[in-house]
Amino acid sequence: MMKRLYLLLSLLLVAVGVPAEDGNTLLAEIDRRLQPESYEMYRKLINIEPDGDRKEFVLYTVKKGKDNVVALFLDPPSEKGRSSLRQGDNMWLYIPNVGKPLRITSLQSVVGGVFNNSDLLRLDYSAEYDAESIAEEGGQFLLELNAKTRNVAYDHLKMWVDRETRVPTKVEAYAASGLLIKTLRYSKIKDFGNGIERPAMLETDSPLHEGYKSVMLFDGIRERDFSDEVFTLNYMSQVGELRQ
């Protein structure tokens, strides 16, 4: 009797369009669909000015576990050899000329444009945010996410998720005051091999940077394990050696 009742209730929920999903479970699934927990990848970052002029950066990124990520600039020549390391809430920047890592803040941007350090060294969404609610809007899931700590760059996120592919299509990032800081749009689903099928492009704009746009292109995403010592200050000048 209980089984039948449960089945009936489930069918009813689906029929009226209320997602029978737990927000945090969905968020964890989104993370795994976007990338493995430990991986390497290449990214091209393009800053586009209102007049169409562009500035491009290429980064090699490796990540391990929930909160270790390091990114190395491969291009342009003026930035080559710079690396940024994140361990949880701690972030450092290594500049070859300066010759030692300096602490930086998540809200700064080492590349200009709309992406900040937190976007470049993004951890899993589920590592930084809790799902407050889940709803359905326009055939997509709409997740309302709240930052777990005050050290997270954005106080809360609104995330629209494709029901079928279970990857985000749009993310709005808000400050604690309710101010919209930026909008991120994922697109161009691509098969990267080894079961990784995810958006290959992320575009962002911000009402705080009227007319400017930044685009991130992803490639070479591959599951790979690294030792913990790769994510230390001592290794920041050596990150390039991890490339194969």
Partner: protein, 426 residues
């Protein structure tokens, strides 16, 4: 061109928004790791110096001469870096060549700043031998704990520096819990007739070491330099983000029996041996309007107090004809510490940086102030940086020095100078 046609005709043809957006491409094959890499920059610098003809350093630079009231300085320089990879090891090179012309004539210089072999048997262990730059400390403008490096120029802290010939071994371990990282660095720096003579004239094999901890989200270093060519010293530093936009850092160094050259009340050069405590406390703060503030207080226990500096300045302003001996004495004092960029005891450094002011992309404006807190003299340096042209950087800066008679910045060679530097990276 295609994107303009899309943008113009897209709405008329009823194309979806995605079709109107431009296409981007990314080919990672052009970024494959290579066995050999080279990189560097070329730079041209042009400067104008407006001189302070009554200053001590003017008298030292133009003794008995009717020197100029201003002059121009031009410099061309190039830095080349190269890296050759073996299996688990690599050979690193960095060299700099420059040629300059100013009132004093044409000078050229070329030197190897780094040339070393490094081996990394595992992610935890690495070692290196050769000429190499080692940088310790958390300070931006000064590093009292930089025991095995050439001093930084606080007027331009990011300038590349030359290394010393040394051997290093690094070992690092990561852990879970409050203590996340422990790293140990040991350094062996020999001073002989042919090696590292500018570290110290005293021959010895010098041992230095550092232990780094990442403990409860705080970077902590403890370091030492054993007594040898230089007197022994101990140091510590820390750095921590208190919030996502506020960082605090500090350094403390104790130097045992430090020898420094001073001038006594009878105008004689004397060697003074004393224990010194040097310290720095600083912060980085990012305001909601994205202005970065770097503020540092520097206590230079090894430096000269206002009285010692005043004696030096009086000596340096001696009449070259009537008291040439005194002027010779001042020249020697200048080369032995009084001529350092900041020879005093107490300083305040404030640097404000705003990226893309007034929405001018790829531009940065900065204002830097260095104050000698003992004699109240100061320098103010506004600068403008533009990186909008691919692979280039243009920097325009004005350095204005101000102080009364017998003060540090009041007795510098110039009253103000303006400098334009163009860099091309490759």
């Amino acid at each position: 061109m295609t994107r303009w046609w899309c943008l113009l005709l897209g709405p008329l043809l009823g194309l979806p928004a995605s079709a109107q957006t431009e296409e981007f491409s990314f080919d990672i094959s052009s970024y494959e790791k290579k066995r050999f890499e080279w990189f560097g920059f070329l730079e041209l610098t042009a400067g104008h110096l407006e001189l302070d003809e009554d200053s001590a350093f003017y008298n030292l630079s133009f003794p008995g001469d009717d020197g100029p009231s201003s002059f121009q300085r031009y410099q061309g320089a190039g830095e080349l870096g190269a890296l050759y990879r073996f299996k688990k090891s690599s050979l690193h090179f960095r060299g700099r060549a420059e040629i300059g012309n100013d009132y004093f004539g044409t000078q050229d210089d070329g030197r190897v700043q780094e040339l070393y072999y490094a081996i990394r048997p595992s992610d935890r262990l690495s070692a290196g031998i050769g000429k190499r730059v080692i940088k310790w400390g958390k300070g931006y403008a000064w590093n009292p704990v930089g025991f095995v490096e050439r001093p930084k120029d606080p007027n331009d802290p990011e300038l590349t520096r030359e290394g010393f010939t040394l051997g290093t071994v690094d070992y690092v371990r990561s852990f879970g819990g409050a203590l996340k990282t422990v790293a140990v660095t040991s350094v062996l720096l020999p001073v002989t007739d042919d090696l590292n003579r500018d570290f110290s004239p005293k021959e010895d094999v010098n041992l230095a070491g550092k232990v780094y901890l990442l403990y409860r989200d705080t970077d902590i270093d403890v370091m030492f330099l054993a007594s040898g060519s230089r007197s022994g010293r101990l140091g510590a530093d820390f750095s921590r983000n208190l919030t996502s936009n506020f960082e605090l850092h500090g350094e403390l160094a104790y130097i045992n029996d430090e020898r420094k050259l001073s001038i006594d009340s009878s105008n004689r050069l004397v060697i003074v041996e004393t224990d010194a405590v040097n310290g720095l406390l600083g912060l980085r703060y990012l305001t909601p309007s994205e202005v970065v503030w770097i503020i540092e207080y520097y206590r230079n226990g090894s430096g000269y107090d206002a009285g010692e500096l005043e004696r030096f300045f009086r000596l340096a302003k001696s009449d070259p004809l009537a008291s040439s001996d005194l002027l010779d004495l001042a020249q020697r004092a200048r080369q032995s510490g009084f001529g350092a960029p900041n020879p005093g005891k107490n300083y305040l450094y404030v640097r404000t940086i705003k990226k893309e002011p007034f929405d001018v992309v790829y531009s940065t404006v900065a204002l830097t102030t260095i104050v000698n807190l003992e004699d109240q003299s100061f320098s103010i340096t506004p600068e403008l940086i533009y990186t909008g042209v691919k692979n280039t950087e243009a920097r325009l800066r004005l350095v204005w020095l101000n102080g009364s008679e017998n003060t540090e910045f009041g007795e510098k060679l110039s009253d103000w100078r303006v400098e334009l530097r163009l860099r091309y990276f490759f």
